[in-house]
Amino acid sequence: MTKLEIEYLLPTWSEKLGIYRERVRNFWKIYSTSKMGIVGLGLVLSFFIIAVFASLIAPYDPYKFVGPPLLKPTESYILGTDHLGRDIFSRIIYGARISLLIGLVAAAISVGIGTIIGLTSGYFGGFLDAVLMRITDMFITMPTLPLMLILASILGKGLINIIIVISILYWTPTARMVRSQTISLKERPFVEASKAVGCSDLRIIGRHIAPNVFPLVFANAIITIVDAILAEAGLSFLGLGDPFQPSWGMVLHYANLAGAVVHGLWWQIIPPGACIMLLVLGFALVSYSLDQILNPRLRKR
C-alpha cells in the first residue's frame, strides 16, 4: 500500500472527534445512573461556582478588618467575626478558592511525578526500577504528617510552599500503581509489535503505554485531590498554612487560637469544617462512582 492509501484507512479528525464524543456520551450514560456520582458531582460543582463567584457572594473583603473582633452571628455578620474583626462568612466563601486551587494544583503535580516515575520504573525495570522503588518505599515508610510539618517549616509559610510540600509527599501511590500497570502492559503483544517495527522507547511509552494507564491515573488523581485538600486543612490548622489566605483550615486555626471550642463559639467551628467535609465528600463520591465504572471487576458484581 502507498502512504496515501494507509492514510485513507485511518480515521479523519472529524471521525476521531465523533468517536470521542460517542465515548463521552456512553460514559455519561453509565455515570448518570449512579446516585452517589451525581451527588458528588453536584457538591464539587457547587463549590466551583462559589469559588468563581466568591467576590459576588461574600458581603465583605475577607482580608480586611471590617468589624469589632469576636462578634457573635448578627444580621450583618452572618457567622460573626474572628479575633481580628474579619467577617468569617466572607472568609469561608473565599476559602473555596484556596481549597480547590491547592487540591487541583498539588494533585496535578504529584500525580504527574508519580506517573513519570511509575512509567520509567515499570518500563525500563532493572537497576533503575530497584532504585526508584527503594525511594518510593522510603517515602511510604516515613510518617506523612510530621514530614509535612518539617518541610513546611523549612520552606516557610505560603500557598506555593504548601503545594510543593504536598506534591513531594503524595506521589507514591500513583507511582506504584502506574508501575504495576506498566509492567503488565509491557508484556502485551501490541507493545512487542511496536518494538519489532523499531519504535523508540519514548514513542512506545507515549503512544502505547501512557494512554492505557490514563484511566487509572485519572481515578488516582481525584483521590490525590482529596488528600491534598485534607493535608492543607491540617497544616493550616496547626498554623503552618499561609497566614494571609482565608483558607478553611486557617479559619479553624484562628478559631482554635480564640478558644472557640472551650467558649462554645460553634459558628466559628462548624461551618468551615463542614465545608471541608462536603467538598472532600464530593470528590470521594465522584471517585467511588468512577471506580465502579472503570473497574470492570466491580461492575460485574
Binding site: R134, I135, D137, M138, T141, M142, P143, L145, P146, L147, L149, I150, S153, I154, V226, L230, A233, G234, F237, L238, G239, L240, G249, L252, N256, A260, V261, V262, H263, G264, W266, I269, I270, G273, I276, M277, L278, V280, L281, A284, L285, Y288, R301
Partner: protein, 325 residues
C-alpha cells in the same frame, strides 16, 4: 525458595530502607536554612559548655561526611543529641518517657477498638451486601473519610465537653489534683482518654471496615466458600472460620502499617485534645525549631515501621507459602 532465604532477602531489603532513612534523616536537618551547625548546637537555649560538648561529639566543625560517620557512631550508642526546648535534656529521655506511654495507650486502645469493630462490621456488611446495614456503613465510611480528624475532635469537645459536660475539655489528667490512690488517678486518666480515643476510633473504623468488606467480597467468589456452603455448614461457620480466616492475610500488612501511628501518635488529634504524647511533641518541636527531638522521633518511628513490616512479611509468608515463591 526456602523460608530462610526469604527471611534473609526481606532482612536485607529492610536494612537498605533503614539505611536510606537514617541518611535522609541526617541530611534533611543539615539543609535547614542558615548555618547548618546552628541547628544542632547553635541554639541559644543551650548552655555554652553543652554546646561545646556537642560540637565535639558530632564533629560540627568537620566536613559533612565526617559528621555523618560521627552521627552514625553516636546513634550506635544511643546518643541522639539534646533537646533545645527542654534546655539540654537528652532526646532519648524526652521521647522515651511519659509521652511515649501516653501515646501508646491512646493509639493502642483506639486502633484495637477500631480494628475489632471494623473487621466484624466489614464481614457482616460483605455478607449482606446491599442491605441497610451495608449501605449505612458505606455512607458512614465516606463521611468519616471526608472529615478532617482535628475537626471531628473539635466537634466532640464542643458537644460532649462544652455543652454536655461529659468529658474534660483538654489534657491527659486534671491539672493540680492530688490523687489519694492509683485508682482515682486511673479513673481521671481514662476520663480524659475518652475524647481522643473516640475521635481516632471513628476515623479508623471506616478504614478497617472498607478493607475488610472488599477483601471479603473477593473471598466470596472463591471456590472454597462454595464448597463450604455445599457441605451444608452454618452461615456463621462459613463466614468466620472459612471467610474471615482467609481475610486475615491482607489484614496482616494493614496492621503492620498502623505501627507508625502506634509510636508516632496522631499529631492533629493529640494537639486538639492537648494530649501529652509524641504526636503533640512533634508539633511543639516543629514550632520551637527543636530539630534534635524531631530527628529522634523520626528515627524511632522509622525503626518501628521497618521492623513491623519485616515481621508482617514473615508472618505473611508463614501463613501463605505462595508468597515465598
Amino acid at each position: 525458595m526456602g523460608m530462610r532465604e526469604y527471611i534473609l532477602r526481606r532482612a536485607i531489603s529492610s536494612i537498605i530502607t533503614l539505611a536510606l532513612i537514617i541518611a535522609l534523616n541526617f541530611f534533611i536537618f543539615r539543609i535547614m536554612p542558615g548555618d547548618p551547625t546552628r541547628t544542632i548546637v547553635g541554639d541559644v537555649r543551650l548552655r555554652p559548655e553543652t554546646r561545646e560538648l556537642l560540637r565535639q561529639q558530632f564533629g560540627l566543625d568537620k566536613p559533612i561526611w565526617v559528621q555523618f560517620i560521627l552521627y552514625i557512631q553516636n546513634l550506635a550508642v544511643g546518643n541522639l543529641g539534646v533537646s533545645f526546648q527542654y534546655k539540654g535534656t537528652p532526646v532519648t529521655e524526652v521521647i522515651f518517657g511519659r509521652r511515649l506511654t501516653n501515646t501508646l495507650i491512646l493509639m493502642g486502645s483506639s486502633i484495637a477498638l477500631a480494628l475489632i469493630m471494623g473487621m466484624i462490621l466489614g464481614v457482616i456488611a460483605a455478607w449482606k451486601r446491599g442491605s441497610k446495614l451495608d449501605v449505612s456503613m458505606l455512607t458512614f465510611t465516606l463521611v468519616a473519610y471526608s472529615m478532617p480528624v482535628f475537626w471531628l475532635g473539635m466537634l466532640i469537645i464542643l458537644f460532649f465537653g462544652f455543652y454536655l459536660k461529659l468529658i474534660p475539655l483538654a489534657g491527659t489528667v486534671t491539672p493540680g489534683v492530688e490523687y489519694s490512690n492509683f485508682f482515682d488517678y486511673a479513673l481521671d486518666y481514662l476520663h480524659h482518654l475518652i475524647g481522643p480515643m473516640v475521635t481516632l476510633t471513628i476515623i479508623d473504623i471506616a478504614y478497617y471496615f472498607l478493607i475488610m468488606r472488599n477483601t471479603m467480597l473477593d473471598i466470596f467468589t472463591e471456590d472454597y466458600m462454595l464448597t463450604a456452603k455445599a457441605k451444608g455448614l452454618r452461615d456463621r461457620i462459613i463466614l468466620f472460620r472459612h471467610g474471615m480466616k482467609n481475610a486475615m492475610l491482607p489484614m496482616v500488612s494493614v496492621i503492620a502499617l498502623t505501627v507508625i501511628y502506634l509510636f508516632g501518635g496522631a499529631t492533629l488529634t493529640e494537639t486538639v485534645f492537648s494530649w501529652y504524647g509524641i504526636g503533640r511533641l512533634t508539633y511543639e518541636s516543629v514550632m520551637m525549631a527543636d530539630y534534635p527531638v524531631l530527628q529522634g522521633i523520626f528515627l524511632v518511628m522509622a525503626i518501628a515501621v521497618i521492623l513491623a513490616n519485616f515481621i508482617a512479611d514473615i508472618v505473611y509468608a508463614y501463613l501463605d507459602p505462595r508468597i515465598r515463591y
